[in-house]
């Protein structure tokens, strides 16, 4: 009985910590106002949104070992769902004969996740025919193809993208208020992370971890790995789409830039920086990368010349991102 009790105690302590973390995050807009820096709320919203995207990529990349270099495509598609629906809402034009325009967040968010998931299913089904380095190259190439598609899509702004003049609305809440929108994003992020946590501890998550460690062994014990990988890829794409839809609302703008391959790279950096295959790692990674970028950008226009080598050093000398760095500082040995 004893181990079960300690297990429960540890889990209770962990839940307490998580509760405190969420409470601190929820209090952030008040603190930002007190500190006289209301722009912090907007920055925090960006971090929370990108944390959702990074956590989604982490499901495929960290837990499933599927190194997708094209997740910006699903992220961007989610954004475009919001942009296109808003465009039709304003103009009243039907889309494929249906009058679909809407500015209701309760409609646009699930739809964005659904559409992104559909695209991820189609392209993932193809890309998962390969593995290893080909999978990296193919996901990159498919994302690039989708990027070019939206660049050429003149009906929806092409290169210039779409402006979403007003954030999608929610019943009873004013999403145009920065703090309210931050809380909406935070609530969704907490929900998504809880879902991810349940998922990786489920049977599905166990099979996924098995696939990452040795696909051949999983096949040998009689598991058809392909459906599991595809499901992980699709759920991962849906989360990225959800994040994209929130970002389109936050920035009130979508453009093909959201799908640029460097955006895919940044999402991967967030996951690695925070620690791939850990539940909260991607959130920490998103926070560190965005804060680092804003700090460096304030110092010099050429901030990437600092960020690039920093990234190289981090990969070369720490394993497992920030936690690896902490280990290195403490003088511990690489795990």
């Amino acid at each position: 009985m004893a181990p079960v009790v300690t297990g429960q105690a540890a889990s209770a302590r962990r839940n307490l910590w998580l509760g405190a973390l969420v409470a601190a995050l929820a209090a952030l807009p008040f603190l930002a106002d007190l500190a006289g820096q209301p722009a912090m709320t907007s920055l925090a919203t960006r971090i929370v949104i990108l944390a959702i995207a990074a956590a989604s990529l982490n499901l495929a990349l960290g837990y499933g070992g599927l190194v997708s270099f094209g997740h910006a495509a699903w992220y961007g598609i989610g954004g475009y769902v919001v942009g296109v629906l808003y465009r039709h809402y304003v103009s009243g034009d039907p889309f494929l004969g249906l009058s679909v325009g809407t500015d209701q967040l309760l409609v646009t968010l699930p739809l964005a996740a659904l559409v992104s998931g559909l695209f991820a299913a189609v392209f993932g089904a193809l890309a998962l025919r390969t593995s290893g380095v080909q999978f990296i190259m193919i996901t990159l190439a498919f994302a690039q193809m989708i990027f070019f598609f939206f660049v050429a899509l003149k009906a929806y702004g092409g290169d210039d993208g779409l402006i979403v003049r007003r954030r999608n609305s929610l019943p009873f809440l004013d999403t145009r208020d920065a703090a309210t929108f931050y809380w909406v994003c935070l609530t969704l992020a907490v929900g998504w992370f809880a879902f991810m946590g349940r998922l990786v501890r489920s049977r599905f998550g166990a099979v996924l971890a098995g696939v990452r460690q040795s696909e051949r062994r999983m096949a040998a014990i009689g598991v058809r790995t392909y459906p599991y990988k595809l499901a992980a890829f699709v759920i991962s794409g849906m989360g990225a789409g959800l994040a994209g839809a929130l970002m389109a609302n936050h920035a009130r703008f979508v453009s093909p830039d959201m799908m640029h391959w460097t955006q895919s790279g940044e999402l991967m950096i967030m996951v690695i920086l925070g620690g791939a295959g850990t539940l909260l790692g991607p959130a920490a990674g998103a926070a560190v990368l965005i804060l680092l970028e804003t700090q460096l950008a304030a110092l010099t226009e050429h901030w990437q010349i600092v960020l690039g080598p920093l990234l190289v050093l981090m990969i070369l000398f720490t394993r497992g991102g920030l936690s690896g760095l902490a280990r290195l500082v403490r003088g511990g040995r690489d795990g």
Binding site: V67, M137, L140, G265, M268, I269, P309, I315
Partner: protein, 304 residues
């Protein structure tokens, strides 16, 4: 008809440029197991070094070797400082570290040369056009590119198939550990190979310089196309890279040249142009998807 021949040659010219990049990328992957995103940066470095020397001296004959040397040096330095430590890592670490290198190189070039693209004149002795056959003229410079690319392809084949270095390369691709166990200095071999790959990328950059604008970001555009080539051809296979490069070069050029005309038959001008632009940009990726459906390991897989 003359337009068709001209566009076909343009396609071959793009193809050989892609081959120079893909050959290096696929060899480096096949033998060292490293996926190098910064391969496109070497192409950019070659083009910039060539443009800078050409602007200073006015001589293409000085500028071309300078571009090759700069790319090869940058490649060897990259291998020595960073890539060498990535051989034993997984692909994810390799992707991210070389992504960091891209950020660094792009900003370094921006600081050195600014954001404005550089333009390089085609050298006078390579300028003008020649009659290929009755009534069809083609720029001499582009023919030279095709010739240089084909000669390099043959040279690379001879190097790999007929020399001791090539034997080691093939042996290394088949079984790295065995080659090391036999007492070959595998580190030196890797550095040489990386330098050769970098020089090929530099050669592509040098030759593309006078017909494209030399600008930051040119490396990534061509890198992603090169990935398509490598996947279509089969990862690690130089023969596959050659086939894939020509296929991608010709298909891409043909779509861009003829698709707008075809679509204009069925829809209005501007709409047709926009749609054709999008479709032809997507064309090679669709081609890749098609190849994958039929042959997941590529057209000419290296082994296994």
């Amino acid at each position: 008809m003359s337009l068709f021949v001209e566009q076909a040659l343009n396609g071959v010219q793009l193809g050989v440029t892609l081959f120079l990049l893909a050959a290096g990328l696929t060899l480096i992957f096949g033998i060292m197991g490293v996926i190098n995103l910064a391969h496109g940066s070497l192409y950019m470095i070659g083009a910039y070094a060539m443009a800078a020397v050409a602007a200073k001296t006015g001589s293409f004959l000085l500028a071309a070797p300078a571009g090759l040397a700069a790319a090869a040096l940058a490649g060897v330095a990259m291998e020595f400082l960073v890539v060498r430590r990535l051989y034993a890592r997984d692909h994810l670490d390799q992707v991210l570290a070389t992504f960091g290198l891209i950020l660094f190189f792009n900003q370094a070039i921006t600081i050195l040369f600014g954001r404005q693209p550089l333009f390089v004149q085609i050298p006078p002795f390579l300028d003008g056009s020649v009659a290929i056959f009755e009534g069809v003229r083609y720029p001499f410079y582009r023919l030279v590119i095709i010739a240089v690319g084909l000669v390099t392809a043959i040279g690379l084949y001879l190097l790999i198939a007929r020399t001791r270095l090539g034997m080691l390369i093939r042996a290394g691709a088949t079984n790295r550990d065995m080659v090391r166990a036999l007492g070959v200095d595998i580190r030196a071999l890797y550095t040489i190979l990386f330098g050769v790959g970098a020089m090929l990328a530099g050669l592509a950059g040098v030759m593309a310089g006078p017909i494209l604008s030399v600008q930051v970001g040119m490396g990534e555009q061509v890198l992603i196309l090169t990935f398509v080539v490598v996947v279509i051809g089969g990862v690690g296979s130089v023969r596959g890279a050659f086939l894939g490069a020509l296929l991608v070069g010709v298909v891409d050029t043909m779509l861009r040249a003829f698709l707008p005309g075809v679509l204009r038959q069925v829809m209005s001008g501007p709409d047709a142009d926009a749609l054709a632009g999008g479709l032809s940009a997507m064309g090679v990726y669709l081609l890749m998807a098609l190849v994958l459906l039929v042959k997941p390991k590529g057209l000419a897989p290296a082994h296994g």
